[in-house]
């Protein structure tokens, strides 16, 4: 599980220049779609930590996306903050709210936790919709500026995409570091067997809260990038269904595998765009594809790799077992003693 992370780092570093150069031929639509993919991958990465690694079922990631997006939209349009500052503030806010939301997770698990986070998502959505003085209500917030960094305007599609790419890389590296540290193992312990973990000194409470908070911070960071990407936000994209789609994204991509969120986000956010030509049928195709993925590989698409690795290590162990010398003389032979027994 953790071993594999070294390969992940390599893939990450190789993918970066490719992703930097590859889309330069795309028009603004294509760039918008890959940008959206990056942003949603960040959100999914966060949920992957909470759900995939720490095993905490959360239906709140869409809400954190919303919290980040609204915080950034409000700070940049109404308070005039620059985007980088708003980005940090949004992530920090999401982290803090994530800690608070983590407290119920100390008490309830599984579908009960799903329910609590679901309620949270509904509340966030309603606040965004009803508190017009702050959030613009159903009419949303328009004209969210794209950033100007070090004097250069990154508002055009390609520079903004590359900015997103850099942020994604940094966040992915941070996640990589986190997962390979003992913290990563402690998160897994939460998921695998919390009772045992507690008896080994793993501070269940702290790690549960952290798993929520860090996952949420990634959600908020994604939201903070989503706002300037779309340049307009209203409550709709942060409704409950967004959280469901994110959950689906993580599981279909491979919960608990490093690149799962990226693969999942491809299916949830890019595939529908690729299928636009099919008119009203793309959702059916998309749902069918997801269904197929989880049926073929219930551990998600990247779970297949995991399974293949398990196979290999099993085969290795089997070979070791086969090669092991019996401690008791094998020469005496089964048939020999067996015959003795049967005829006794």
């Amino acid at each position: 599980m953790i071993r594999r992370l070294d390969a992940s780092l390599l893939i990450l570093l190789v993918a970066f220049p490719i992703l930097w150069l590859l889309p330069s031929g795309l028009k603004s639509y294509g760039l918008y779609v890959v940008s959206l993919w990056l942003v949603m991958s960040i959100a999914a990465m966060g949920l992957n930590l909470t759900l995939g690694y720490a095993g905490l079922t959360s239906l709140a990631q869409g809400a954190f996306l919303g919290i980040g997006a609204y915080a950034t939209a409000i700070l940049t349009t109404k308070a005039g903050w620059p985007l980088p500052a708003a980005f940090l503030a949004s992530s920090a806010l999401s982290f803090a709210v994530g800690v608070l939301l983590g407290f119920p997770a100390l008490r309830v698990k599984h579908h009960y936790l799903a329910f609590v986070t679901l309620a949270f998502t509904v509340v966030v959505f309603l606040v965004a919709r009803n508190e017009q003085w702050l959030t613009g209500g159903v009419f949303g917030i328009a004209n969210i500026p794209r950033p100007v960094l070090f004097g250069s305007d990154l508002g055009a599609a390609l520079p903004f995409y590359r900015l997103l790419l850099c942020v994604t890389l940094v966040l992915a590296l941070a996640m990589w570091w986190l997962l390979k540290s003992p913290w990563g193992r402690a998160f897994l312990a939460l998921r695998e067997n919390a009772v045992r973990a507690a008896s080994l000194g793993v501070d269940i409470r702290a790690y549960t809260l952290l798993a929520f908070a860090i996952g949420s911070a990634y959600g908020g960071a994604a939201g903070s990038l989503y706002a300037p990407l779309v340049e307009f936000i209203d409550p709709a994209p942060f409704a409950l269904s967004a959280s469901f789609v994110l959950l689906l994204t993580v599981v279909a991509g491979g919960a608990g595998s490093f690149f799962g969120p990226f693969v999942g986000a491809f299916f949830s956010y890019m595939l529908p765009e690729l299928l636009r030509a099919t008119g009203g049928w793309y959702l059916i195709i998309y749902a069918a594809v997801v269904l197929l993925i989880v049926m073929i590989s219930p551990t998600g698409l990247l779970g297949l790799i995991e399974r293949w690795r398990d196979h290999r290590s099993q085969a290795k162990a089997a070979a070791a077992r086969a090669a092991a010398a019996p401690t008791l003389g094998a020469a005496s032979g089964e048939t020999d003693s067996l015959g003795k027994g049967a005829t006794q």
Binding site: Y29, V138, F139, A142, E231, E273, G280, L283
Partner: protein, 357 residues
């Protein structure tokens, strides 16, 4: 000849799906008719529909793509969130966008490329408030609205108009889009004991509310705007729709020959009666045709310039269905109707003139 590309970005899934489907059908119908008659300036129309998912982000992607694909005009969307998320893109690219939205906000931003297909809520509500004061003679009104951009916008436009006319708002009830159970709302309305009920909901919710109101035996007149008197609501609410009155911008049953003909063609093609969104989509395409022919070439900037302040009469282009005028900000002005449902049929009681003929 080389076809002219129209791209329709419309709500085909999500809460806006019913409206979007009507619009899309209307667009398809108009395109078919126009192409059958030789297209626009000799070029056939090629229309592509992209789903907005009733989601600003997805709409933005779709409109972005429409612009990348060199759309001549972008049609749709209908919901104001998706409109707000996409209108800067068409503006930046200089592509005219003809939308189905009724909320008032987006024509106030000075965007020269955005155009409506129906009355702005802010223009419809005064007509209705007058009606409540003069015809219904209501002293107090219970307002039931759907809490989305459409319903909230309508409510925000209506309440000041009521107050201006000295009509009290006895109850101000927000409901959810997609809400199934209206019992509590009906009970609240009943207990508010107002002289009339103003209902501003989407189609099915309107029907459900009417049924719940009937179950709670609400005897007060139920008044609405366009959707409440739509064919769909009447079909769904059945008996409960009888007696409902209100103001309608576009209606296949309106006493205009064009509407009836359109209504029939639509019914034949799709098996159900078009609502106002079908008419909006249909007239949007005819607007493109008429204005382009006026310009005489395919020039987006000239198109937008020409459409501002333009007036298209049915006499000149029957496909426009009703005489329509575009204002400088992209709003439209046209006649509208006072309607009452009797025996399951919307009956037009009066025709209201344009605001600035």
């Amino acid at each position: 000849a080389d076809p002219v590309k129209l791209i329709d970005v419309i709500e085909l899934s999500g809460p806006g799906a019913p409206a979007g489907t009507n619009w899309k059908n209307g667009v398809d119908l108009a395109v078919k008719e126009i192409n059958a008659k030789g297209g626009i300036l000799g070029r056939p129309i090629a229309v592509t529909h992209y789903d907005s998912q009733t989601n600003p982000g997805a709409t933005r992607a779709a409109v972005q793509r429409a612009v990348d694909e060199d759309a001549y005009v972008v049609l749709g969307p209908i919901f104001s969130g998706p409109i707000s998320a996409s209108m800067q893109i068409t503006q930046r690219a200089g592509v005219p966008q003809i939308v189905g939205g009724e909320a008032s906000a987006f024509t106030k931003q000075g965007n020269p490329y955005i155009f409506r297909t129906s009355l702005n809520q802010a223009d419809a509500m005064p007509k209705l408030a007058n009606y409540l004061r003069d015809e219904v003679k209501a002293k107090s009104v219970a307002v039931v609205w759907v809490n989305n951009d459409f319903g909230k916008g309508g409510r925000d436009a209506m309440i000041p108009e009521l107050q201006k006319r000295g009509i009290q708002v006895a109850a101000d009830i927000a409901t959810e889009s997609g809400q199934a159970d209206f019992a509590a709302d009906a009970i609240k309305v009943k207990n508010a004991n107002a002289d009339a009920v103003f209902v501003y909901l989407n189609e099915e919710e309107s029907a459900r509310f009417l049924r719940a109101a009937r179950q709670q035996a609400i005897a007060k007149p139920v008044i609405g705007e366009t959707t409440l008197l739509g064919a769909k609501v009447i079909e769904l609410a059945g008996e409960a729709a009888n007696g409902v009155k209100g103001h309608v911008g576009l209606l296949v049953d309106a006493p205009k020959p064009g509407f009836a003909a359109f209504g029939k063609t639509y019914q034949d093609a799709y098996g159900f009666t078009s609502d106002h969104n079908g008419i909006k989509g249909y007239t949007a395409v005819y607007t493109v045709k008429t204005i382009t022919e006026r310009v005489g070439k395919f020039d987006r900037e000239a198109f937008a310039k020409t459409l501002h302040g333009a007036r298209i009469d049915v006499a000149q282009e029957p496909g426009i269905l009703i005489d329509t005028k575009w204002l400088e900000n992209g709003d439209v002005d046209r006649e509208s109707f006072l309607v009452e449902v009797t025996d399951g049929k919307p009956v037009v009681k009066a025709t209201l003139p344009m605001i600035n003929p």
